[in-house]
Symmetry: C2
Subunit: 252 residues, 2 copies
Amino acid sequence: MAEDRIWTAALIVIGDEILSGRTQDRNIAQIALWLNVQGIRLAEVRVVPDVAEAIGGAVNALRAAHDYLFTTGGIGPTHDDITVDAIAAALGVPVIVHPRARAVLEDYYAARGGLTEARLRMARVPEGATLIENRMSGAPGIRIGNVFILAGVPHIAGMMLEALTGTLEGGRPLISRTIGCWVAESEVADLLSETERAHPGCQIGSYPFFREGRVGANFVVRSSDEALLDACAAALARGLAAAGFAPVTDGI
Amino acid sequence: MAEDRIWTAALIVIGDEILSGRTQDRNIAQIALWLNVQGIRLAEVRVVPDVAEAIGGAVNALRAAHDYLFTTGGIGPTHDDITVDAIAAALGVPVIVHPRARAVLEDYYAARGGLTEARLRMARVPEGATLIENRMSGAPGIRIGNVFILAGVPHIAGMMLEALTGTLEGGRPLISRTIGCWVAESEVADLLSETERAHPGCQIGSYPFFREGRVGANFVVRSSDEALLDACAAALARGLAAAGFAPVTDGI
């Protein structure tokens, strides 16, 4: 069945500011959630510095291993924005000025001091690329082959994802049910593994927490088949209740 | 000079909950900031799913490429906690129950229902490992060779980092100065790259933002040499002022 093919994506987060701890990444979670809705699973993420060889190595490893590869960061107008050059080099193509990107930027900067040499950098793309619209700040994202080059600023990356919504082929979305419980996960470890084993096609993740002075956990059941998912979640809830722990639908 | 050697670390974040977007990672920034203080640079991060081959492949690639390798996640008592087994397999050593970890857990669970089979899983380590103390929840972190296996829950990972503070050899910490400015980064792109070029040993990162209806940017100068850093930051501030933009010390 065609819909059983699993489509995967990888993400490369590019930026010294993430690796130095200066900036808290928000793009991993944002892109993961968006991909889920497209029926594509985020299978691997790498965070690399603003170094051409590190970017290029990761791009070539991951674009071959997955259906789609996304990158965030390094597409602005300053000297530390080297993503386009690094990806073009990795793909073995030259960098050109994209005529439509140039026109978009000319338009955007007409009332903002004009299109300088630095700003024109944001119209540079690997040869053969198409643009991803950005209603926010003029500078577009870039698609070349299965590689999608997005901005690093999370709300601009989000605009670019919006422009891509519904355009990528995917499979059945991975869906989930969460069951919360005021229990130490170690007390129900056997129940969790037995329930997962009895429901092929479902995975159960266990995420413990310590809140209001008590330990608890959220159990997340994931599947791409809704009927299997509901059966597994129901069995887990029954098992928790039978062991004397009240399951909380939709988690705690 | 010995202090000029750059010590690097990599981090593997292990967990389906990060790749599904359910959980916002906090360990990358936490570990990056801690490493900076130890004089060690976080050079690469990978996020991988709860799959033994994915964990093992990343462990063997990164422990060879860096002085230190950290992992977070997957060391709890449930069936989805496979980090120890995956790393032991990657290193080619068996998994054993560590006697001191067992004693610590027996103690911790004495007043909490006793040490069950599931809880005893948290005393399992790759043969040859030593323990990293965890004052929070009993279950220790694990060190084997240059690999440091930490919990996924950020405040528990933080306790384990605290236990490691000052124990790892590093070089001179990377230090930084931030200069903020209410300017579109594209207007000062040339100044940034010229200032960086004139100050070898320093990097300048440009981080734009849109706030209170105005565009601005923070420029972060980084170096492991404080005198070079101060000279570069001062030159950048002078350059911004000369171009008619007021530099804001310590950023906006």
